[in-house]
Symmetry: C2
Subunit: 236 residues, 2 copies
Amino acid sequence: MSFPSGRRIPEAAVVRLPVYLQILGNLADTGVTRFSSDELAALAGVNAAKVRKDLSYLGTYGTRGVGYDVAYLVHQIKRELGLHRSWGVVVVGAGNLGQAIAKFTGFAPRGFPVVAVVDVDARKIGQKVGGLVVAAEADLPHLVRTTDAKIGAITTPPSSAQSAADALVAAGITSILNFAPIVLTTPDSVSVRNVDLCVELQILSFYEQLRLEPGAAVAAAPKVAPNTLKVVPASV
Amino acid sequence: MSFPSGRRIPEAAVVRLPVYLQILGNLADTGVTRFSSDELAALAGVNAAKVRKDLSYLGTYGTRGVGYDVAYLVHQIKRELGLHRSWGVVVVGAGNLGQAIAKFTGFAPRGFPVVAVVDVDARKIGQKVGGLVVAAEADLPHLVRTTDAKIGAITTPPSSAQSAADALVAAGITSILNFAPIVLTTPDSVSVRNVDLCVELQILSFYEQLRLEPGAAVAAAPKVAPNTLKVVPASV
DNA sequence: TGTTGTGAACGCTTTCACAGCT
DNA sequence: AGCTGTGAAAGCGTTCACAACA
């Protein structure tokens, strides 16, 4: 509602900024230094008016008749998303997915180093996973404090996901990426994003089915996903 | 636009149906046979009016003064989402994530068996991953035909993701789950859902930052994510 | 009485269209 | 002339509030 200097970016725009950032990063890598809203729109699969509106929420950084500067816009989007600092990720659950995330080398360079992996299973504790040693879930408060982790990723079986969430919240984590196929119960001050692959597959199957059914047809292009995000004033 | 019998479910509602389905499944497992919109709303973290509207798109299946039947609603949601049949998934890219997906036993029971894993790397071809043998990406057309796969999951490095998408499309796949951090170019007749974990982390960091910045505050609860979905008439 | 189903109001998001700069 | 920035309009999605009904 309120915002430091009256500026406020609509949620719908916030979720598109990382997509623009990615594309602009690719453009920069190929030596492009300037782009127009038309060009970015084509690459992102949206329309130019939306790109201009979205970018206008960041400030007035374009040049009429010319376009936008790639490097400058990358900087501004990063600033807005808080990507000029690093956000440590602690992975809860050292199963297949947890290990895949811990081993993935693509997060750290983009500002999201995996700083710890924990599990409740004594057989997993002490194992090495991608340069980290699996710690006990009970150590979360200590680990979060010492590593300054800011985001928790839940990759446990569904039956342990809620207790994992409770442990993360107790340890002071307020942003959770949940891969378990259950709806977590968390305080309103905690942001949760659900990445339930079954949900994604079910949505795909709905549209695939429309394509298979004779006579069925849809025209619109839905862009939403079943994520939940709760955020309350910082003072609470 | 048009729909067989004039019925049409808004996209925003479609993405919530899998969430309801999951919760109702859990309720059924614990012996619950009836629920009210209030109860489901509390469990799903939405409000009761939304639940009633969403369920009303399926048909008139509730009983005034009483509520809804769990088993019956599960059946109706499954029917709507096309979950009374199985949707084979072919994984392209046998790296950490691809292997984690292939090994995960939670998809098949929910109607999404992983029927094949392919890679371009000759060293990976022939390896066994969760009961499947990694095949060559060049075999995709043949594999899709013989396994009747309907969904493709791209878990390759970003540099190979577009060619993976092209190969899937050429093999006749029209629904793609993309884990690579790039925007895919596909025909309009192909549905793509992007599950870019960096995008999710970046969105989380935006809200985390608001919480850390003194004086910052947001009130609304955004529920959208940067997915793209393109669907065209079945006849095309 | 209790709960659904749903028009109508509201608010957010997208799109249009053009004024304003370069 | 070209492209941005932005009010205003249109389109969706959510919420309200209550009639309908078991």
